[in-house]
């Protein structure tokens, strides 16, 4: 039960991190707008909430002495995934700060880079916030106002990560990935890899081969019959 909850929380955090990265990519380009900055703000706040939830759950579990060995290994794996996710988030937040400072939106002299993007990122933000549509209610100069908050939040995240490292002792090298290279190629229903999935892909492939061979044989047979018939028709007429 706890494992499922942890996994779900981690998936949510990963989703938000991916969306955040996507939006930070757009800063400074032609899709950049006050809306984007507001989306960034909301997304990272959501990310922080999820991060705190993840941390609390995982630290509670890892401190629990009554957990079995395999479970403990699994939770350590999740912990490593969580800390990597936080690293990425922190870097993206710092980059967002730097880019936000470099590309303020209301200054007429500072031009945005014409990157070829024309659409907005509201869909991405909606996915991150798990809502249908985004509502924009911020002021018109959020791009400047938000930077101070962003700085503070970066510091908070930094502190949290430091605390995490000090309090929880999970050596990263003991964690082994569950997924083999190429695991992402199969269907993406389950996050954790299963070897069954791999085999089914291979079977499908061989199946296709057999069907292809059969089709080839049938086709050539039909072709031969057609040629024979044509020759007969010519000979007899």
């Amino acid at each position: 039960m706890v494992k499922e909850e942890c996994k779900a929380l981690l998936d949510a955090l990963s989703k938000v991190a991916a969306c955040y990265r996507h939006m930070v990519l757009t800063i400074g380009g032609t899709s950049d707008s006050q809306n984007l900055r507001e989306e960034l703000k909301k997304t990272r706040q959501k990310a922080q909430e999820l991060a705190v939830a993840n941390r609390n759950k995982l630290t509670a579990v890892l401190k629990d002495k009554t957990v079995s060995k395999e479970d403990k290994a699994e939770f350590e794996r999740l912990w490593v995934i969580f800390s990597t996710c936080m690293e990425i988030l922190e870097i993206d937040m710092r980059r967002a700060l730097e880019l936000g400072q470099e590309f303020p939106l209301n200054v007429p002299k500072k031009h945005l880079i014409q990157t070829g993007m024309s659409g907005g990122t509201s869909g991405v933000a909606a996915r991150a916030m798990s809502v249908q549509n985004m509502k924009y209610e911020a002021e018109h100069n959020i791009d400047v106002v938000d930077l101070k908050d962003l700085e503070n939040e970066i510091n908070q995240v930094g502190e949290m990560m430091y605390e995490m490292e000090m309090k929880v002792n999970v050596p990263q090298w003991t964690v082994e990935a569950k997924q083999d290279p190429g695991a992402e190629l199969k269907s993406t229903i389950s996050v954790g890899a299963s070897s069954i999935g791999m085999i089914s892909v291979e079977e499908n492939k061989s199946f296709c081969d057999i069907s292809k061979v059969l089709a080839g044989i049938i086709f050539s047979a039909v072709l031969i019959i057609a040629i024979v018939l044509a020759v007969c028709v010519v000979k007899l007429s």
């Binding site: 990963s14 990519l25 990425i88 880079i113 659409g119 996915r127 090298w173 992402e184 190629l185």
Partner: protein, 468 residues
């Protein structure tokens, strides 16, 4: 070529902010580059420009030549600020109508945010999914390597790759294409395929101020130091460059006939004809010096003193003038300056006894102040204790004895007797030309009697009339 390239890239790291400024100025709606639309099958993507546009704009904005503009444009493309749309793997600026686009600021090259292994792994995983496992060779290798190297977060890599693809689906088709192109361009710059130029390559670390710019705190101490530095710099004596350059030109004009590379060497260049006569005739201790050499003694006192033969002749002359002790004193001081550390005390003592003590056999005439200082210094002898006295005697010889030497009979006769070797005539028939072979070092075969024998040899060859 490799080292030059590395140096160039190291300098260019400091130029990234400048490149960024160029890119930003290209965005100006009035003065920037004219944008066109890129038409793919169904989608139209704005903000494309041709290579020609870029070159023209650079020429106009910075008033540079086309060659320079092309070079600058190429730098922008190689460092990932602009990427080509048609042939994405070749990061070259073509000055024709091939399309280019600007890179998003997140993907600008920066030393503060280097491309991480984790990001590369996520990119490769995404590509793997999109291309159904059909990665290029070097990407496949990198993929497997990364799987081993960051195995502990590999699950995260796969998770994040999927999520990033899902997030991208929320955007329009045109934007999705642009994002793919941007990412591809970024990784082509940061993880170039093997064999391609790597603009981010670290050469061996050099003490280059562009790389290790330590930021000093700009407080009052810093500014006080700066002021002091500037004050000292203002106080330094400076020569006007017109005077400097005149002196430089005079020097070159004077020495050009004496330079073996600029004016050729007689009889012939040993490196070409394997004939070592030239070296033999110009050896430090020959019986008869060459004309050019004797002429050079007239250029300046240092030339005369620096040449062993010249110094000997000077000594002869000074003996006639009864001031030979000056030269001996100077030579003894040179020995002190450049001699062994262990012998310094002895040498100082002998100099004192010979030249400085009252009633010494070869007493030198130094002014009283310098003498006082030197005698003080002798109490604690070190290498440079005789410097003042030596300089005094040097200037004495230079101002007094040297001009007289140049006007003397001795010098004139030397000039008259000096020889000018004839140029070896090039043999007309090819099979008579001397075969080139590796000859033993001329330094090994240099008995002093040789030049005369060689001079006789030369007379057998037809003498070419010399230019005066």
């Amino acid at each position: 070529m490799g080292a030059g390239l590395l140096l160039k890239t190291q300098i260019l790291r400091g130029a990234w902010p400048k490149m960024e400024r160029v890119i930003v100025s290209m965005q100006d709606p009035d003065m920037g580059i004219k944008m066109r639309n890129q038409r793919l099958l169904i989608t139209v993507i704005p903000h494309a420009m041709t290579g020609n546009d870029i070159v023209e704009w650079l020429i106009q904005k910075y008033s540079i030549s086309e060659e320079e503009s092309l070079h600058l444009g190429n730098l922008l493309v190689k460092h990932g600020y602009i990427y080509p749309l048609k042939d994405p793997r070749s990061l070259v600026l073509r000055a024709d109508d091939s399309p280019y686009r600007f890179q998003t600021p997140y993907f600008w090259t920066s030393s503060k945010w280097p491309a991480t292994e984790l990001d590369y792994a996520i990119y490769l995983a995404k590509k793997n999914i999109r291309k159904q496992g059909d990665l290029i060779d070097h990407e496949k290798d990198n993929y497997n390597l990364l799987h081993k190297r960051i195995n502990h977060t590999w699950d995260f890599v796969v998770m994040q790759a999927r999520e990033q693809l899902r997030a991208a689906k929320q955007r329009r088709k045109g934007d999705r294409i642009v994002i793919d192109c941007q990412e591809q361009a970024y990784w082509l710059v940061n993880r170039p395929p093997p064999g391609a130029l790597n603009v981010l390559e670290h050469g061996p670390e050099r003490r280059n101020c562009h790389i290790s710019r330590v930021q000093l705190p700009e407080n009052t101490d810093y500014y006080k130091r700066e002021i002091e530095c500037c004050r000292k710099a203002m106080g330094r004596t400076r020569v006007k460059s017109s005077i400097c350059l005149e002196g430089y030109i005079k020097f070159n004009e004077q020495y050009v006939p004496h330079d073996p590379i600029m004016s050729g060497c007689l009889p012939s260049n040993p490196w070409i004809t394997d004939d070592t006569t030239y070296w033999a005739m110009n050896a430090p201790t020959v019986m008869t010096p060459t004309k050019l050499r004797v002429e050079r003694w007239g250029f300046g006192f240092s030339e005369l003193l620096g040449d062993t033969l010249g110094r000997r002749q000077l000594l002869e002359f000074l003996k006639k003038e009864f001031s030979a002790e000056n030269l001996s004193f100077w030579e003894a001081c040179e020995e002190l300056r450049y001699g062994e550390q262990a012998r310094i005390a002895d040498i100082v003592d002998s100099i004192y006894q010979q030249f400085l003590a009252p009633g010494a056999t070869r007493w030198v005439n130094i002014d009283s102040k310098t003498m006082e200082r030197t005698l003080e210094g002798i109490k604690t002898p070190h290498r440079y204790v005789m410097d003042d006295a030596q300089m005094h005697i040097y200037m004495l010889m230079k101002k007094d004895s040297y001009p007289r030497f140049l006007k003397s009979e001795l010098y004139r006769s030397l000039l008259a007797e000096a020889i000018m070797p004839p140029e070896t005539k090039k043999r007309v028939f090819p099979f008579m030309r001397k075969q080139r072979h590796s000859s033993p070092s001329p330094a090994l075969l240099l008995p002093t009697g040789e030049p005369e024998v060689k001079a006789e040899d030369q007379s057998k060859v037809v003498a070419v009339p010399m230019e005066s």
